[in-house]
Each structure stands twice: as C-alpha cells, then as structure tokens.
C-alpha cells in the first residue's frame, strides 16, 4: 500500500494562556484512511483537531507552536490564508449546528461565498451532489426550502456534513460527530464515513472506542495532552504497546 500523507504535524504544542493543553504531538494523516483520535475527556484530542484547520485562532489566548503541514505547506505560515485553509480542511462539530436557514441555503452557503458555482443550476447541482454524498438527499429532496433546524438531530448532522462536502474540501475533521445522536443516526453517520473514505482524508475524534474500531484504520490515543500511541487501529485495539492504552481501551479508566 502506497502511503500518501495528506497532513503532517510535528512537535505541536498548544497553550491556553500559561496552561499547556497539548505537548509535543506528532502525527501524520493519511489521504486514503480514516484516522481516529481517542482518549479520556480533557485529554486534548479536540484541541489538537482544531489546530488542523486553525479553528483555535478564534480563541484569543490560544497559542500554537510546532509545524503542521497540508500537502507540505505550512498552515501556520504568515502567508497562509486562513479562510482558504478552512475551505480545504472542513469541519463537522459535536453538536449539529446548521444555520437557521433553509436546507438548500445551508449547503449552498460555502460554494456561494467561495464562488465555486458558475450558475444557479450549477449551484443546485452541487447542493444535490453534496446531499447525496451525505446520504440525506432522499429524505429532503422534496423540502429543500424547509429550515435546516427543523430536521432531526441525525439529519442535521448529515446536513452539516453535506455543508462541509459542498466546498469540496481535501480533509474533513469530525469532532465527536455522533455524541449527540441516537444509535440509529450514529450508524448512518458511520456508514457515511465509510463511503466518504478515499475521497476525503477524514479525521474523527470520538469517545466511543467501538466507533473508533469500526470506522478508522489508524488510531491515536491521547492522554493528558500527549500522544501516547499512534498506529493501525487493529494493533491499538488488539495489541497495544503501551500499558496506558491497554488500560484505557479495556475500560480501566476514562
């Protein structure tokens, strides 16, 4: 298997004021695989995820050091345009957060602000394709003008995924995308992740170790702001090198 590294992170540290949230984390994100970040609450996995598209910039006290590259390009370099970076590295949040606008507008917003659609019909095509890829099209095709917030939680989350897909990103970051959903909606999202794999590099943060085992090929275990172990998911779950990893996945703490 040839490995194509989409993103690389080297010696990343994140500080909130004086408090260090992430120390010395190095991880490579593979283009064709799903990478899962697991770890107990407060271990820094979400914080680290948010360094990958510079969402931490919105927190005034946050400071990031180290080297994070997207296709070899330093994303923290002064000449990097943050807005464009976030279009290339999309994100799905823990709580579904559709805009209080119509379903169509939710998906069309990204392409519209980046000028990705050449005409109205082209835009409608992008919306349809994105909703199809997010597995939501059949459920909403007759009510695209309804408010996105009127959908169920699971549908809202898939709408958010469609919104992220619509700008045609290279990487999709998912921050515990199923933690607010019921098991059926969770199963749908997991299925969706399988389908999106290969087209986008996917990084998913999850509390649910079974979910990590089901959807990912690579797993990183974080604890207290450090990366304890990173490797193939099968190895992490069946044959972890570190005792702390073993303790966590067997439910001894977390």
């Amino acid at each position: 298997m040839t490995q194509h590294l989409k993103m690389t992170a080297h010696n990343v540290n994140v500080f909130y004021g004086k408090k260090q949230a992430i120390s010395d984390v190095s991880i490579d994100i593979d283009q064709d695989l799903v990478t899962a970040f697991i770890g107990p609450s407060g271990c820094g996995k979400s914080t680290f995820l948010r360094t990958l598209n510079r969402m931490n910039d919105t927190v005034a006290s946050a400071k990031v050091t180290g080297d994070i590259r997207l296709d070899g390009e330093d994303i923290y370099a002064p000449e990097m345009d943050v807005v464009q970076l976030r279009a290339r590295v999309g994100m799905v949040f823990q709580k579904p957060n559709p805009f209080p606008k119509s379903i169509f507008e939710n998906v069309a917003y990204g392409p519209r602000i980046h000028g990705l659609a050449s005409s109205k019909s082209h835009l409608a095509g992008i919306v349809e394709q994105s909703l199809k890829r997010a597995g939501l099209w059949e459920e909403v095709k007759d009510r695209l003008q309804d408010s996105g917030t009127a959908l169920s939680g699971g549908q809202q989350q898939r709408l958010c995924i469609a919104r992220a897909i619509a700008v045609d990103p290279e990487v999709i970051l998912m921050d515990e995308p199923c933690s607010a959903l019921d098991p059926i909606a969770t199963a749908k999202i997991e299925e969706l992740i399988h389908e999106l794999k290969g087209r986008y590099a996917i990084v998913i943060v999850t509390h649910n170790m079974q979910q990590a085992a089901r959807v990912s090929q690579r797993t990183a275990f974080f604890h207290l702001g450090t990366l304890i172990e990173y490797g193939a998911t099968s190895d992490i779950f069946t044959n972890p090198r570190e005792e702390r990893t073993r303790d966590y996945i067997t439910g001894r703490y977390g």
Partner: protein, 421 residues
C-alpha cells in the same frame, strides 16, 4: 467517619408536621400569585386612568366650534378683481384685498356691536380659503363657517364663563353654531390663539428630529456594538470603553442638551432651534442604548453558528454580516426602538438648544427653526388661556399615537426578522 454515623428516623410523609408544611407551601403559592396579579392590575389601572383622562380632555381638541357667518361680498368693500383669482397671482391678490376687515365687518353686521369678538382672530383665513376655492362667491351673499372665538369654543364645549355660555345659548338659538372637524389642528403650527393652533409644526419637527437621530444613532450604534463584540481585543482599553458607554446611557438627558449646546451650536455654529441639532443631540443620547442592546443581542447569537460559518471558510466579515447580524437584528431593533421612544419623549436636552421657541410655521428643512411634540406640550401646558388646556391633552394624544405607530413598526420588523429555531 462522622457522616456514616448520622442516625436517620424514617420520614413520616403523612404526619401533622408534613401536612402543615404542604399547607404552607400552597399558601405561599397563592400569596405570590395574588401579589403578581395585583401588581399587573395596578399598573394596568394607571394606564387606563392616564389614557381615559387624556382622551376625555383631549378628544375635543380635534373638533372646533364654528359660526355660520353671512358675508355680503359685493358690499364688503373688497378691493379684489375676481378675474385675477384664476391666475398665478391669486395669493398676491388675496393678500391685499382687505378680507380681514371685511370678515370683522360681516360679524358686526350679523351679531351686533361686539360681533367681531365672537369669531376667532383667524376667522378671515377661513373666508379667504372659501374665496380662493370658489371665486364666484365674490358676486353674491354667502354663509361661511368660520372658527368661533376661543371663549365661545370653550363655552360650547362646556367649560366657559357664565357670560360666554349665555352667548353660546343665544347663538345656538339663532342656529348659527355648528361643530366641525378641526382640520387646521392637523395642518398648522403654533399660534397665540388656541383656536388657531396646530400640531403639524411640532409633529413635523419630531419626525425630522427622529430621522436625524435614527440615521446617526442606528448605524454608529450597531457598528460600535459589532466591533466591540466581534473584533475588539479584550484589554484594559475595551474595558474602559465598555464602562464609559454604560455610564453614558445613564447620564441625565439635560447634560446631553448642554453638550449639544456647547458642541453643535457654539463650536460648529449650526442654526439654533433646528431639528438637525435636536437630532444630533438626541443621537448622542440614543447611541449608548443601541450599543448596549446591540452587544447583548450579538452575545446571544450561539457561538456554534460562528464556528459553523468559519469552518466552511467564511471570513470574519462574512460571519458577521451573513450570520451574526441577521440573528441579532431583532434584539438590536428592540433596543433601537426603546432608545428612539425615549428620544421622542425627551424635552430637557432640546430646551438647551433652543427648540422651545415659538414657531408659527412648520419647518421645511432640517435647518429651519422647529419644535417637537413633547416641547410643544410643555409650552402649551404653561399657557394661562383655558383653550390651551384642551390642546395640551390633544397634543398628548397625537404624541401617544406617534409612539404607538413607531412601536408598531418595530414589532412588525422584529417579527419579520425573527428566526425560528
């Protein structure tokens, strides 16, 4: 361990002490509900009292007592050529025609020696208007309804002196007294004669002033609120600005009047008594209210929406204008309308910048001398003439209707922009 050793008696849920507690709880509920209801009834009662008093006193101001005055135009000694009334020189011809004297003459002819005291000082204006509307009148005798004098008007409405009431009874018996809609009250400005005063001058002044206030305070207030919430770094300077704005909103309005006097009149030499200066002064007063309301509305926009927009690659400005502002707009509008309503009812600062002058014609431009509704009410309430008592209440009704209309527009706008989640 002490905690483990606490001895617990099984709770008697049906015991007398427990029953007493339940009764006490119910009594507290009832007491609280009654108190709340009493508060609502009391405040509603005050409102009803205010409105009914104003309506009872003021509604009469929309009507006026008129006297049907017979005028014998061919013998009135008018120096007026009917042919000139058709052309563009009509007003000029009317101005020099001596209609005022002719009207007084007609009144003495009809009602005796003091006949001209029965009709209003402005009665000739009604005659002039009638002639202008129908020049053919000049060739015959005609009966024209002219406003009655102040004393007659009051007596006809039941508040006059015995002598005036006797005159009214005599006129009624003669069948010359009628009641008409007081159109001139809605189209004229201030006057020394209560039968001739109008509210339009003050209303127009209020509208001009409010427009200036809104055009300045709304954009500046909203932009400041957006900048402070979305862009400004949190440091000592922004804390200082925040404290200053909160203080500014609480500063007594008279001080804004002094500020307006010092800055706009003495430094910038803007015209005294003008609605533009009034608007500028009130904008200073309204802006902090809008900033505070705006900041609260912007704070209430969930951060998840900002994250969502940033994550698809919206720039900070796009986040603000596509998402934050539309969601905050209903709250901002509510704050704006509260500030504007306060500005509309403000009197003190406008006294300082000379808007309490006697202005007998409605302002045409923002720089014309003008007054506003609350100041007009204040001025009329100060008059000794009994006729102004009624006009004061009538002006209050107009002010309240204006306020109601403004609030109505605000509620409509708010409901239109309200986003349902």
């Amino acid at each position: 361990m002490n905690k483990a050793q606490i001895h617990r008696i099984p709770t008697d849920w049906r015991g007398a002490a427990m029953q007493r507690r339940i009764r006490g709880r119910y009594a507290a509920e009832r007491r609280f509900r009654l108190l709340g209801l009493a508060a609502v009834v009391l405040s509603a009662g005050f409102l009803v009292f205010l409105l009914s008093t104003m309506l009872a006193n003021g509604l009469g101001g929309f009507t006026r007592t008129e006297i049907r005055l017979p005028v014998d135009f061919p013998r009135a000694g008018l120096t007026l050529d009917p042919a000139r009334l058709a052309g563009p020189g009509a007003d000029l011809a009317l101005a020099g025609a001596g209609i005022e004297g002719a009207t007084d003459g007609a009144a003495t002819a009809a009602f005796g020696k003091d006949g001209d005291k029965l009709i209003s000082d402005g009665a000739w204006l009604a005659v002039r208007a009638a002639v202008k509307a129908d020049p053919a009148l000049l060739r015959r005798r005609a009966t024209i309804a002219v406003p009655a004098a102040d004393a007659i008007d009051i007596a006809a409405k039941g508040h006059g002196s015995p002598a005036a009431e006797a005159t009214v009874a005599r006129l009624k018996a003669a069948g010359v007294l009628t009641t008409g809609f007081n159109l001139s009250f809605l189209s004229e400005a201030d006057s020394t004669d209560p039968t001739m005063v109008g509210i339009w001058g003050a209303l127009k002044g209020s509208i001009f002033t409010m427009i200036v206030t809104l055009l300045l305070a709304f954009p500046i207030g909203v932009l400041s609120a957006l900048y402070l919430e979305e862009y400004a770094p949190r440091n000592r300077w922004t804390d200082l600005i925040e404290v200053s704005i909160n203080n500014l909103a609480a500063v007594p309005s008279i001080i804004f009047g002094l500020l307006g006097l010092a800055v706009f009149l003495n430094t910038f030499h803007l015209p005294r008594s003008a609605s533009i200066v009034g608007g500028l002064t009130l904008a200073l007063m309204t802006m902090p209210v809008i900033v505070i309301a705006g900041r609260n509305a912007i704070k209430a926009v969930p951060p998840s929406i900002r994250d969502a927009a940033l994550a698809v690659g919206a720039s900070p400005v796009q986040v603000v204008f596509h998402h934050v502002l539309p969601l905050a707009l209903p709250g901002i509008l509510t704050g704006t309308i509260i500030g504007m309503a306060r500005a509309l009812g403000e009197t003190a600062p406008l006294l300082m910048i000379g808007m309490r002058a006697f202005i007998a014609s409605p302002p045409e431009r923002l720089t014309d001398p003008a007054t506003v509704l609350p100041v007009q009410i204040f001025l009329w309430s100060d008059q000794v003439n009994r006729g102004f008592v009624e006009k004061t209440s009538t002006a209050i009704i107009v002010l309240l209707v204006f306020l109601l209309a403004m609030n109505g527009v605000a509620i409509y706008l708010r409901n239109r922009f309200e986003t349902r989640w």
